[in-house]
């Protein structure tokens, strides 16, 4: 098969810096590849982690998020939120096996028309190297990532990071940044695994073995996560098929 791959890329640009930078690239006629499709938000902090996954699910090969440089944010520190969230989304994509490169976060100011054009050129090449994000293989992992990013636990952790590392929680506990990252990573892994099982069970009741096959998770891991789901009333034991327990999803 001989076709040259033209990636399709979704880009979120904040109104005040990067969208203005993209406009300046235009005014200055700096040329760059035409693969990006831009959505303007007032602040990069508006971009919900879920939006990234919606993009990847709906036909884009990658998603770029552009915001103001630190210190330039029109809303003081919206871009700090963006940075933290996008880091987690990247981790989730890594966990799900897509690799974190399909999400790119960059800072471009309103004066950096050339930098905008250069960055888009560079990143488009990078995505071209990654190849197309096609086929049903990624449907399940992406659905799981989306579900996990929608989980209140992960979202809470994403938002509470500064409070936990810079100030303290109501009990006066304060975490080191590295410990917090560790916690977040572990939690992301678990939430992803749970979400993956839920997504798998959406297709109908399955045994643990079937689920392990379907999701690629080790049997032991499937069991543990099913326990979690059971505890929170999301799944229930339906019976056994041979020695393998069969689970079903409880409607939420």
């Amino acid at each position: 098969m001989d076709y040259s791959f033209e990636p399709k890329i979704l880009a979120f640009l904040c109104n005040w810096c990067s969208y203005a930078g993209a406009d300046l690239a235009g005014v200055s006629r700096f040329q760059y590849p035409s693969n990006i499709r831009i959505i303007r938000t007032m602040c990069s902090g508006r971009v919900d982690p879920v939006h990234i996954i919606e993009g990847l699910k709906s036909g884009f090969d990658a998603v770029f998020v552009f915001g103001c440089h630190f210190g330039d944010c029109h809303y003081l520190e919206g871009n700090h939120h963006t940075a933290r969230r996008m880091q987690l989304v990247g981790q989730m994509l890594e966990i799900a096996g897509l690799g974190k490169d399909r999400l790119q976060l960059r800072w471009v100011s309103a004066a950096e028309g050339q930098i905008f054009a250069d960055t888009v050129t560079e990143l488009t090449e990078l995505v071209r190297g990654l190849g197309a994000l096609r086929g049903s293989r990624w449907q399940l992992p992406l659905a799981a990532v989306q579900r996990a990013l929608n989980s209140s636990q992960l979202r809470w952790l994403m938002g509470v990071d500064r409070q936990m590392t810079e100030k303290a929680n109501v009990y006066g506990d304060r975490l080191e940044a590295a410990d917090f990252q560790d916690l977040l990573r572990r939690c992301a892994q678990q939430e992803y695994e749970k979400a993956l099982l839920v997504e798998a069970l959406q297709e109908g009741p399955q045994t643990v073995r079937q689920m392990a096959m379907r999701t690629g998770l080790p049997v032991y891991c499937v069991s543990r996560r099913l326990n979690d789901l059971e505890r929170t009333g999301q799944a229930d034991l339906l019976g056994y098929e041979g020695s393998s327990p069969k689970f079903t999803l409880l409607s939420a």
Partner: protein
């Protein structure tokens, strides 16, 4: 209406009806002017913003980053510019200057002169098509001359207004000189660009014979060419020929004009007649041209040999003229075949006489009628018309003009031997030098200083010789040439068989005089010099017949003017009106380029003489294309715009209008604010720095442009000489500042230390750590908020080197080196030298000549430094009441201070004009909104061509058709310019006719145009939020110019995404909240009182809460300002005014105990002498001041001779004897400031100690005064105090932080003293100084601000002072709306700055309070209370305190959005763990719809 206006002039105190005028003029569109304009417009006044340049933005727009936050300057400025540009109540007058002002405060009349922009602001879409085609390059002032821009230009890419402008000076000298007024500069530029057809078209606007004149014109234009001042004139004539030779004239079509019926006769078809006929034809006439010979062309045909002007060139161009509708009748001569009266009888209504001079002048010698004597013109005519005649074997040609040469060379070609006899010497010969050369080369002999005496004939009566008289040169005659006088007896005979006199021609006027055409005594026709009308009405004349034999281009010029007159005559118009003889020239031309090297003109190839003398082939071969373009490029564009009119053709919006004239505008305003900024110091006077000579010595402003991403090198840090990245950069401080040499300034410019550090830090960010940066300085003046920290970081983290030395000269590092050597002496006396690749001169700020003129025009006094004079207690008031000043025109200052003063100027203007608030503002009304909630979406899609900006790349009709196929789309259209007024009407009609309820415009960018379209759909009855933009220009066609198909595909995707989002858009209503119009000021010191008083004067009721029992704060301890004003007296007066004001309620001894609410609706509880007050207020100003540190060093507290701040002054005032007896006193600076635990400068202490020292010296000149300092920070004009103190003998000793002075008690000679030990910074050894008293300048420290900070939810900075919303552009605002800060609680500052800041805070508070309501953009977040679990993450993530937890009975806590405070970023929405928060207009489902639409399979 007119009666009212009369009133105004009779009674200038009132605005017509007893009230002041509710409008203010702000002069200067820099950041200060913009801030003042916005503040005023937002408090109910109409603002005229007057800017000299084509766009607002000022110097700040040129800066790269700003200190101390390293924000991108343009990023933070641009939103303000956009707001200003869009504000209904700010009218921007660009390219305008104040030329006069009269009247009084409350009612001024201002005269403005508006320079032409040559581009219609209303029509210009900012697309830049004009600049693309413009051929004229000029130095780009915005890039400090480091790049070029075009004559059609935009100041900078993000300029407001976005319209382009054309820079035009006087017409170039070449054009002014040309008798036919051909636009020389214009066609030369077009040739440069290879646009030959356009060049010829431009020439032919005036001259129908480009190829002819391109060959034979003696080009007077070249004599005036200013390129001669550099090397040689541009070869204009040859360029014209080149262009004409490239173009087929038949490709031009005559202009489409209505044919005029009147008959006009043109007599004579020479250059005058041809030009006249051509121009009449252009005007629609169909003139008849009568020629006596059988071929047209007049002297061009019969007088000029083929080798100079090939006949086919002439034929071609005459044929072209005939093609335009001119009828030619040959062999028809006036006088012979018809009379003038017969013409009029034959219903000709006007006649043009272009008869020429075709009769040779006789020699007046015997035998002149002999056979073989033939006049030169006759000789040439016969040859040129091919008439049979016999040419002699040996010719004598008499005369020294071009005709003589032409005859001689023609005869040579026919095989004759030719001798020219000329009565003067070679120098006097009138023929062109190169033609004489040519003739000599071809073997023509010339006998100089000889005159013919008689023709000798043979028996057959034919010529056989010519007797000549030898001459010598005598005294100069009337023409200035030396008169030839005969040498008696010196005669000789030339053996010739033909004699050709060529000493001049005359006109053959025949019976003209009988037909009422007056003839002069020289035998020429007399005409009016402007209209070319003869004495007989309807008869006009030009060319040689009027002027006598002269150059063809003059005849053309006359013919053109005569055509104009004939047209006017036939239309019955005044012949002379508006016409002047010659053009007015002010010689306002572009300066000759300094840096361009000389380049001689191109030399045209010619045929070799051995070839030419045998045939009539054209000698000059013309330029090659490369030669022509290179030659054209030598033009220096004297007039800047060349009026080539390429922009007119390129502009699809038809916005270019070269006919614009300067306009006088008169404004009526109640107050004036001057904010014109400053001029950057020009370092040329420092000859030893070689600025302008060494390319790698640049100014700091140039360096800003080098760093800037929009700069000449696109943000790559390279040096000008070789565009190589520098490895070592040096900054030299105080260039033009702190220097008393002539041309420089004694004051400190106040900003250079910080900007140099910033530039060094940013340079390192660009280039990486191995870039070496060194700043050479005298005192490091980082006195502002967070500046000292910035300095420390630059030193310790970025590794910028700071070298305390003033560099005296810069020299090249070697003979051919572009590197630069600096030499200096270290403090310890060591000599050092280093080589740098780039040196930046930190130039100061000054008031330039233009600004001085402005000050003079408006009548405000300037101080000794040239800045507008102001007092400390009224820091923004000028000497003329009602005229205020802010920014750098009132003294050097940085951006935040200028912004603060701008708000302060707005505040004082507001209080002056308070009764007229809202009398002149415009408000718009709209039709009622269509309800769309229950309707199916019907989306209208409008795709813009943007001229060719989009359509040149994207298939616009294709996109439109594609849009038609999308779901919910009910209507599609495409427009040439969607933003034009007529398209707005089309959109409005389309909405109504098709019942559209959503609109998508696919065009440029929402950042500039969304408000326009929102406005349009509002006028059609749609809610403005039912609009969506697809950016297919800035982010598509402009950036994918080489990929039209992909760009089209992208455009379709973007439209599809926009339509998908649009279908889900909801109408939103701005949130309208009633507010309390009262203000609360906390802190009753100078700042608090000032703020309260200004608010009260503006008519806003104000509570003033003071903790102490008395108003006045710390200012009560201060005797005088540094300018010498009495603080106590002012304070007394101020507190009296505050306490007696009926709009102020003062609560002293009062404490704030609780604050609830938010902007517009605060409720503050104040405990006051046992009572609890609940104050409702809309805004709050925090002015709680600061304290001075009580140190634990230098024996303070242990020895009562050690005092601080004003204690020493007080002691001497109380006991003058102590001062009289004292022998020495010392001051120690930086006590507690600039130390690790308090790393900031207290800003006011240096000035404080220096002024005290001066006062002490004045009272007791014998007293020894020492000031022990680290850096002397008498910034700005305070520097004069420092100089004065040194001159008075105050001793300044610098100490280092790591080696502080030591103080001990001692008894010396029986007197109790203090002994100070300090290391002398020059001698580097300890000095022991005995003094009687020591005064410490201790740190200014904040105290107790955290309680208020918690109450109002506003932040403190690391040093404990209040932290404003933005250090640069919002210096008195907090991020929390409705709360403002001023005075020492913000940061240490002197009295005048505290007062300005207090007024600024009042102005900002007034923007909230005066409206009576807050209107909030409905793009805010909304909480779904059912989903919310009250976790509080949103509250924690919102920096504006716009979302908070509320207790809801039975549910615990639930989040609530405070619409008034919400800025609409959407951070909370993306943060909410429950996804309970959504963002209006950027709702989740709207964004997701756009994502899904964008991700769909490709639209092909």
């Amino acid at each position: 209406m007119s009666a009212e206006k009369n009133n105004v002039s009779k009674n200038p105190k009132s605005g017509g009806n007893g009230n002041p005028v509710g409008a203010v003029m702000v002069v200067g569109g820099g950041i200060a002017g913009v801030q003042a304009a916005l503040d005023l417009a937002n408090t109910g006044f109409f603002v005229h913003l007057v800017e000299n340049s084509p766009a607002i933005g000022g110097v700040m727009a040129q800066l790269d980053k700003t200190f101390p936050t390293n924000d991108c300057s343009m990023c933070i400025l641009s939103p303000k510019l956009v707001e200003c540009g869009r504000h209904l109540n700010v009218q921007i007058h660009t390219l305008s200057m104040v030329t006069g002002i009269s009247g009084e405060p409350g009612a001024f009349k201002v005269a403005l002169t508006k320079k032409p922009r040559y581009i219609d602001l209303a029509k210009c879409t900012g697309c830049g098509d004009c600049t693309k085609v413009c051929p004229v390059l000029m130095p780009d002032e915005f890039n400090a001359g480091l790049a070029d821009w075009k004559a059609a230009y935009r100041l900078y890419p993000q300029a407001i207004p976005a319209a382009f402008a054309i820079k035009k000076l006087d017409r170039a000298p070449c054009t002014l000189t040309c008798p036919a007024e051909i636009n020389v500069q214009g066609y030369v530029q077009l040739i440069k660009m290879g646009k030959y057809k356009e060049a010829v078209r431009l020439i032919m606007e005036r001259l129908p014979l480009p190829g002819v004149l391109g060959r034979i014109c003696p080009h007077p234009c070249e004599d005036k060419c200013r390129r001669q001042e550099m090397d040689e004139a541009v070869a204009i004539c040859s360029l014209k020929r080149f262009a004409a030779d490239q173009v087929d004239l038949s490709a031009f079509s005559p202009p489409p004009v209505a044919v005029r019926p009147e008959k006009v006769a043109i007599i004579g078809s020479g250059p005058a007649g041809l030009a006249c006929a051509y121009h009449l034809a252009l005007k629609g006439y169909r003139p008849t041209m009568f020629e006596s010979l059988d071929q047209p062309g007049g002297m061009l045909r019969v007088g000029i040999p083929d080798y100079r002007l090939p006949k086919e060139i002439l034929d071609r161009e005459i044929d072209n003229i005939l093609r335009y509708g001119v009828e030619l009748r040959t062999n028809t001569a006036l006088g012979r075949d018809f009379t003038l009266d017969e013409l009029f009888d034959q219903s000709f209504q006007a006649v043009f006489l272009g008869l020429g001079c075709h009769v040779g002048k006789p020699l007046g010698i015997p035998q002149e009628e002999a056979e073989g004597v033939i006049q030169g013109v006759e000789f040439l005519k016969k040859k040129n018309l091919g008439e049979p005649f016999t040419v002699g074997q040996r010719l004598a040609v008499i005369g020294g003009g071009n005709v003589a040469i032409d005859v001689a060379c023609t005869a040579r070609r026919l095989g004759s031997e030719v001798t020219i006899v000329y009565r003067r010497s070679r120098e006097e010969m009138p023929a062109f030098h190169h033609e004489i050369e040519q003739a000599l080369c071809e073997g023509v002999k010339i006998i100089y200083l000889a005159a013919p005496l008689k023709v000798v004939t043979g028996g057959d009566g034919k010529v056989m010789g010519l007797v000549c008289q030898k001459m010598e040169l005598g005294e100069p005659d009337a023409s200035g040439r030396r008169k030839p006088v005969p040498i008696p007896g010196a005669e000789f005979e030339l053996p010739v068989d033909m004699v050709v006199p060529a000493i001049g021609q005359e006109a053959a006027l025949g019976a003209l005089a009988d037909w009422d055409v007056k003839v002069s005594k020289w035998g020429t026709i007399e005409v009016d010099e402007t209209t070319y009308q003869t004495s007989r009405p309807g008869v006009f004349a030009a060319g040689d017949v009027h002027s006598g034999p002269w150059i063809a281009i003059e005849a053309v010029g006359g013919g053109i003017e005569a055509a104009e007159s004939i047209d006017r005559y036939l239309r019955g118009a005044d012949l002379a009106e508006g016409r002047v003889l010659g053009q007015e020239a002010h010689e306002r031309w572009r300066e000759l380029p300094r840096d361009e090297e000389g380049r001689p003109r191109e030399v045209m190839q010619t045929l070799p003489p051995e070839h030419t003398c045998a045939c009539f082939d054209e000698i000059a071969l013309g330029f090659t294309e490369a030669q022509a373009q290179a030659e054209a490029a030598r033009c220096i564009n004297c007039g800047v715009c060349s009026e080539c009119m390429e922009c007119v053709a390129a502009c699809k919006a038809e916005a270019v209008d070269h006919s614009q004239k300067p306009e006088a505008v008169e404004l009526e305003v109640g107050a004036v604010i001057l904010a014109p900024g400053f001029k950057a110091f020009d370092p040329h006077i420092y000859e030893s720095y070689g600025y302008g000579t060494y390319p790698n010595v640049v100014t700091s402003l140039e360096f800003e442009r080098i760093l800037s991403a929009t700069g000449p090198f696109e943000g790559h840090l390279v040096r000008p000489s070789d565009h190589r990245a520098p490895k070592k950069i040096a900054w030299l401080q105080c260039v033009g500042s702190r220097d008393t040499r002539p041309g420089a300034h004694g004051y400190c410019s106040g900003v250079c230390c910080m900007y140099a550090i910033k530039e060094a830090v940013i340079a390192k960010e660009h280039a990486g750590a191995d870039l070496d940066t060194a700043i050479f300085f005298m005192d490091m003046r980082t006195y502002g908020k967070d500046f000292e920290r910035y300095y420390n970081r630059a030193q310790n983290e970025a590794g910028v080197r700071f070298i305390r030395s003033r560099i005296h000269s810069i020299t090249p590092a070697g003979p051919d080196s572009q590197d630069l050597k600096l030499e200096w002496v270290e403090e310890n006396g060591d000599k050092k030298s280093e080589v740098f690749d780039l040196v930046v001169l930190s130039i100061g700020l000054e008031v330039g000549e233009d600004l001085r003129r402005l000050a003079d025009t408006v009548g405000v006094a300037l101080d000794g430094d040239g800045f507008v004079e102001t007092g400390s207690f009224a820091p923004v008031a000028s000497s003329r009441p009602g005229i205020y000043v802010c920014g750098a025109m009132a003294g050097p200052k940085d951006i935040p201070y200028a912004v603060m003063e701008a708000s302060a100027a707005s505040a004082v203007s507001s209080s002056l004009l308070a009764p007229a608030r809202r009398t002149m503002v415009r408000e718009k009304t709209y039709p009622p909104e269509m309800p769309v909630w229950e309707q199916e979406p019907r989306v209208g899609v409008f795709v813009c061509h943007c001229g060719i900006n989009i359509a040149g790349v994207v298939d616009v009709p294709g996109v439109r058709e594609y849009a038609q196929t999308l779901p919910n789309v009910a209507y599609v259209a495409d427009n040439l310019f969607s933003c034009s007024e007529d398209t707005q009407k089309l959109i409005t009609e389309a909405i109504k006719e098709n019942q559209l309820n959503r609109v998508v415009v696919a065009a440029c960018t929402p950042r500039t145009h969304e408000p326009l379209f929102q406005e349009t759909i509002r006028e059609a009855g749609l809610n403005p939020y039912l609009f969506e933009f697809a950016n297919i220009r800035d982010q598509d066609s402009w950036v994918h110019q080489q990929e039209p198909e992909l760009a089209t595909e992208k455009a379709k995707d973007l439209v599809r995404m926009a339509v998908a989002k649009a279908a889900l858009l909801e109408p939103l209503q701005p949130v309208h909240l009633e507010i309390s119009q009262n203000a609360l000021v906390i802190g009753g010191g100078l700042a608090g009182m000032t703020a309260a008083l200004n608010l009260a004067d503006q008519g806003l009721f104000t509570y003033l809460v003071e903790e102490k029992d008395e108003l006045g704060g710390h200012a009560r301890k201060v005797g005088h300002t540094w300018k010498g004003e009495d603080v106590g007296a002012y304070l007394f007066d101020l507190s009296r005014r505050v306490q007696n004001h009926d709009q102020i309620e003062v609560l002293t001894g009062a404490q704030v105990t609780q604050v609830k609410g938010f902007v517009g609706n605060f409720e503050t509880t104040v405990q006051c002498r046992g009572h609890e007050h609940h104050i409702q207020h809309g805004a709050a100003i925090l002015a709680t001041g600061a304290h001075s540190l009580k140190p634990k060093e230098y024996l303070y507290g242990d020895n009562d001779r050690v005092t601080r701040w004003h204690d020493l002054e007080k002691r001497f005032v109380e006991n003058p004897q102590l001062l009289a007896e004292a022998e020495a006193v010392a001051f120690i600076q930086c006590v507690g400031s600039r130390e690790p635990e308090r790393p900031y400068c207290s800003k006011i202490c240096c000035t404080g100690s220096v002024s005290q020292a001066i006062a002490l010296k004045k009272q007791n000149p014998e007293l020894q005064v020492y000031i022990l300092y680290r850096d002397l920070r008498t910034y700005g004009p305070r520097e004069h105090l420092y100089r004065q103190a040194r001159e008075m003998g105050v001793v300044f000793i610098r100490y280092r932080l790591e080696d502080k002075p030591k103080v001990e008690s001692a008894t010396i000679n029986g007197r109790e003293k203090l002994l100070i030990t300090v290391t002398d910074h020059i001698l580097e050894r300890p000095l022991k100084i005995p003094v009687d008293y020591l005064n410490l300048a201790t740190a200014i420290i904040p105290k107790g601000l955290d309680t208020l900070a918690k109450f109002f939810k506003v932040p403190l900075n690391h040093d404990g002072f209040f932290l404003e919303a933005h250090m640069k552009l919002r210096p008195v605002d907090f991020a929390t709306d409705g709360v403002f800060v001023c005075g020492l609680a913000h940061y240490p500052k002197p009295i005048e700055e505290s007062i300005a800041q207090a007024q600024a805070a009042a102005a900002r508070a007034a923007t909230v309070l005066t409206k009576g309501y807050v209107e909030v953009d409905p793009i805010v977040s909304v909480v779904d209370e059912l989903l919310c679990i009250g976790c509080g993450l949103c509250e924690a993530s919102c920096p504006f305190n716009a979302i908070r937890l509320n207790q809801v009975t039975g549910k615990g806590y639930r989040a609530e959005n405070i619409t008034a405070a919400c800025k609409g970023c959407g951070v909370c929405s993306a943060a909410c763990p429950q996804r309970a928060i959504d963002m209006m207009h950027f709702r989740d489902r709207q964004i997701v719809a756009a994502i899904h639409a964008g991700g769909q399979a490709r639209a092909i």
